[in-house]
């Protein structure tokens, strides 16, 4: 999503947009403590609802992109992992996102739907940390977003749609925005075909 946000910001053009990138829950904490932000993009409805509950967003957060989960393994899949079931093996070092970050919540949903219990070697503070551990070869596998698989050194294993939760990203203009109109305009822009095309190119569905 970082790359997507950067591409969208560049394409928008009307205003120069600066990104402050962090896990959704960290962003919420920043907004709560009064960070000078105009727009927030979050990775799940829970975080969006938290923001609405805090009364810091203008109107309702708008869903603007969707994603799914996938298994990330080292390039070429040396352990021959074919699906979630293979992650439970004793020879597989698995890392997952911690349950309080959006990716961790989605992972819990996924494992629930699949009826599988997995024991992770580490519950990482962000989905990016999960990806990094796999990229560096410290972990054999991790569960990440499908759009994360384009990274070098990573091979993706698809998870069947029947059990794979649809993840949804939300955007909202903050009440503390320096220019509330411009902030709302960018949120509206995310729903336009131009923005949606960029998201689709990066693997996000709408």
């Amino acid at each position: 999503m970082t790359e997507a946000a950067q591409r969208l910001a560049d394409a928008y053009g009307t205003h120069a947009i600066e990104l402050s990138v962090a896990g959704s829950q960290v962003l919420v904490a920043q907004v709560r403590e009064g960070a000078p932000l105009d727009i927030i993009l979050t990775a799940d409805a829970t975080t969006a609802a938290t923001l609405t509950g805090l009364g810091v967003v203008q109107g309702e957060p708008q869903a603007f992109a969707r994603n799914r989960l996938a298994i990330a393994v080292a390039e070429g899949n040396p352990l021959g992992i074919a699906g979630l079931g293979d992650l439970a093996g004793p020879g597989v070092t698995l890392v997952l996102a911690a349950p309080h970050v959006p990716a961790g919540r989605y992972t819990a949903e996924l494992l629930d739907a699949a009826g599988i219990t997995l024991s992770a070697s580490s519950l990482e503070p962000s989905v990016r940390a999960v990806l990094t551990k796999v990229q560096l070869g410290e972990a054999d596998a991790g569960i990440v977003y499908r759009t994360d698989l384009a990274r070098p050194g990573i091979t993706g294993i698809e998870i069947p749609h029947e059990i794979n939760p649809i993840t949804e990203y939300f955007a909202a203009a903050l009440t503390t925005a320096r220019d509330p109109v411009a902030a709302s305009a960018f949120v509206a822009y995310l729903a336009t075909p131009a923005a949606q095309n960029i998201l689709a190119e990066l693997g996000f569905s709408s």
Binding site: S121, S122, L123, L136, G137, E138
Partner: protein
Amino acid sequence: MSRVVPIRLAALALVGLALLLVPIAGLLIRVPWSGLGGDLADSGDALRVSAVVSVLATTVAVGLGVPLAWLLARGRFRGRGLLRAAVLLPIVLPPVVSGVALLASLGRTGPVGRFLEVFLGFTLPFTTAGAVVAAAFVALPFVALVAEAGFRSVDRDLEDVAATLGAGPWRRFRRIALPQAVPALAAAVVLGWARALGEFGATVTFAGNLTGRTQTLPLAIFFELERDPEAAFSLSLLLVAISLLVLTAARRTWAR
């Protein structure tokens, strides 16, 4: 009252003191005193991991840091300044950089890490041993720094006398220098332990986060802050209390 400190300096010193104490006071205000017992009871795993990791890390840091300190204090060789800089590097490195460096060397794909996996059959990342290595890495410079200062203050004349009486270098180290440096070494142990106990960035990067295995108190605080901020405040208070206790104990050895 005789004024020995210029008023301008005193004013700045007070501001400095405020900068140090206001956050701690803020923490005390936010601690949920009524739920304190429950929060601490729930963090038994983190407490246990922290105790094990910090004690083992201190043992490693002292076992290796004291000889290094001796080398720095007494060794006469070229590049000693460079060596000292290298030893002290982890003090100024951002902890996450320490973690990345540990991954690059001792991780599964690092040169040493690969050797460990292939020949000894074990890996450090995501293990308690990995957390110990991360904590020892950041604690060792503190031990070496304080111990070196201690060795430097040892009376060289006594060692010279011992030498003329036929005592070899090992005997002079053990019987003359070491006993004199005990207060400094005690301070080194305490500081090293406090640093190991507080270690976060290198640990989460190198050893990961798993309850009961690598999740130490600082990691538990970080993750609780996003799940249950009240519990994070309780755990923070615990670490502040331990640190104060340790510093008070260490001050006695310094004051001697």
